[in-house]
Subunit: 337 residues, 2 copies
């Protein structure tokens, strides 16, 4: 721990790494390319929770998750002179697809470093967006070293998954749209909840939502055990989780909050909540049955925490993010049945 | 056949059973209660078809299908004096849920006559909206007679599934919203496609869409074999289909177009297209994988016809309706896997 919470907070207050104006700028960059997902509600969900719940289905976003937003905003910021070198990213999932799709739109070459045991469907989807996929052995090779080597050899830009102001600002457009749509209905949210892994999405959302609704409580949701944000928020500094098993939320397994994301989240989030794998499965089945949406495990964790009663929502107005829908058919079939 | 096409056309032209103003009125009635579903698009779908495709996910509607719209508009039109008698409907599926949910909102008693072998989940959902469910034996009893008997005994109003101007006007709000959203983007549709069973949805949509975009071709989609609309449109008069088997599209099995609906559809639709059960399954899997939506077989038939190449869409602008999402988890799991 280099700096304590007071120091981080002081730095972030004086010079926040991302401000609402950065998210406004990202929104302008994304407008012609990202899908402006609707803000939906469901009488069945409201009744179940005794609350007014709005959900933002980023499953409907290009590439099936919010990750396209941050990736496209980041790639758009690469100077023309550096674009010929292309981009490189390491990811086995949604970030890979987001970067690949953004690169194709911008006419850039994309290389994605993926574990050799990544699901074939995710590899194929990433290739489908025109990216080159480089496989590595999860047990014996270092993916960041491979990415850096490719970057060095080709003059490519490494696109980090979350700890980057452009990425955070891009993801923040999710929160900006939530705030805009609620404001258009003259509704103030009491609570806003989104999933966290490295913390880029929730950092962007918190920045955008707090700019318009400072009184709203912004919370992150994590898989039980993989609760590094919840721990870090309680401790006042970045703490790793101590899970050494797995979770069905394959998109939410980052070990520790990002430095830049936590400089934002440590200041703006009120708490972190968790949901178990079983609760996530229940939420996915609920989303299928009542919301008619295909949500992946990591994308359903905020809904799962709500349905499991982890937040006192009775009588309140809540907005949650269903952040992605890239789930294999066999797992989905098993969980809803 | 009492009247030939010319006669029906002449009648309908002189005195159409539903006009755009009826749909405007229905929209005002529905505004506080129905969900205004978004008009979405998907780069993956556009790329696959080489067209600009908009889809209207009525799976997100209250009760999981468009049927709530017509039911609510119809029930709202029942005079106060007759409301104490409640309503009665016969349906094993989406109409049952639409009527039950509308009745609950309006504080009316609803009785639904359902076959004893209807899926337990549909029976439970209908009861969940507060309706009384009366079971009948599909092989030995006449559901319409049972409904009429209940209506007579209780002074209840029978709510027909499609052949009624208020029902058609309610379903027409789907088309009105499509037209409104396209107009807001300054986009004119070349083709609009929605599923047909009794023809209420497509009649309402055709009325609303043609009022704003007279040049648009409006088409209905049916399961292969259950193509009574396609046949009737070709023949110029109402013709039954001759399927004696089943289709996975349980919502689209009506034997013959409605009289009132065909007075509209015979004049406004350019053609009917079909999709096989296998093509419907492929469309449901596509919707799961690429659109992240849970669509029931009957709700996917327009998408299925498009994906199967039944309409020449290359370079065109299309709007389709995904009309419902009430599918049992086990069937859905089987079809996507």
């Amino acid at each position: 721990m280099a700096r304590d919470r007071t120091q981080i907070m002081t730095d972030a207050l004086q010079n926040p790494p991302v401000i609402a104006a950065d998210i406004d700028a990202a929104a302008r960059v994304l407008a012609p390319y990202a899908i402006r997902t609707p803000l939906l509600s469901s009488p069945a969900l409201d009744e179940r929770l005794g609350a007014k719940v709005f959900f933002k289905p980023e499953v409907l976003q290009r590439t099936g998750s919010f990750k396209f937003r941050g990736a496209f905003n980041k790639l758009s910021s690469i100077p023309q002179a550096a674009r010929d070198g292309g981009v490189v990213a390491f990811s086995s999932g949604n970030h890979a697809q987001g970067v690949a799709a953004a690169a194709r739109i911008l006419g850039m070459r994309a290389t994605i470093v993926m574990p050799a045991d990544a699901p074939v469907s995710k590899r194929e989807r990433t290739k489908g967006y025109g990216a080159e996929v480089v496989l590595y052995d999860r047990d014996r090779e270092d993916r960041e070293a491979i990415a850096r080597e490719i970057a060095g050899k080709r003059g490519a830009t490494v696109v980090p998954p979350y700890d980057d102001p452009k990425i955070i600002a891009g993801q923040g457009t999710v929160g900006r749209e939530i705030a805009e749509d609620l404001a258009a209905m003259s509704i103030s949210p009491d609570i806003v909840v989104a999933p966290a892994s490295g913390g880029g999405l929730i950092a962007g959302i918190a920045t955008a939502v707090k700019a318009r609704f400072p009184q709203a409580a912004v919370m992150c949701a994590e898989p039980k055990g993989f609760d590094d944000h919840a721990r870090s928020l309680r401790a006042g500094h970045r703490e790793a989780h101590d899970a050494n098993g797995r979770t069905i939320c394959d998109a939410l397994m980052a070990l520790i909050p990002g430095e830049i994301t936590f400089a934002i989240n440590g200041r703006l989030l009120s708490q972190g909540v968790v949901a178990s794998d079983a609760e996530v499965g229940t939420a996915m089945a609920f989303a299928f049955r009542e919301l008619k949406l295909a949500v992946e495990p990591g994308g359903a964790v905020a809904l799962a925490a709500l349905l499991a009663g982890r937040i006192d929502v009775r009588g309140k107005t809540i907005a949650i993010v269903l952040s992605g829908g890239n789930v294999d058919a066999d797992l989905f079939a098993k969980l809803i049945d």
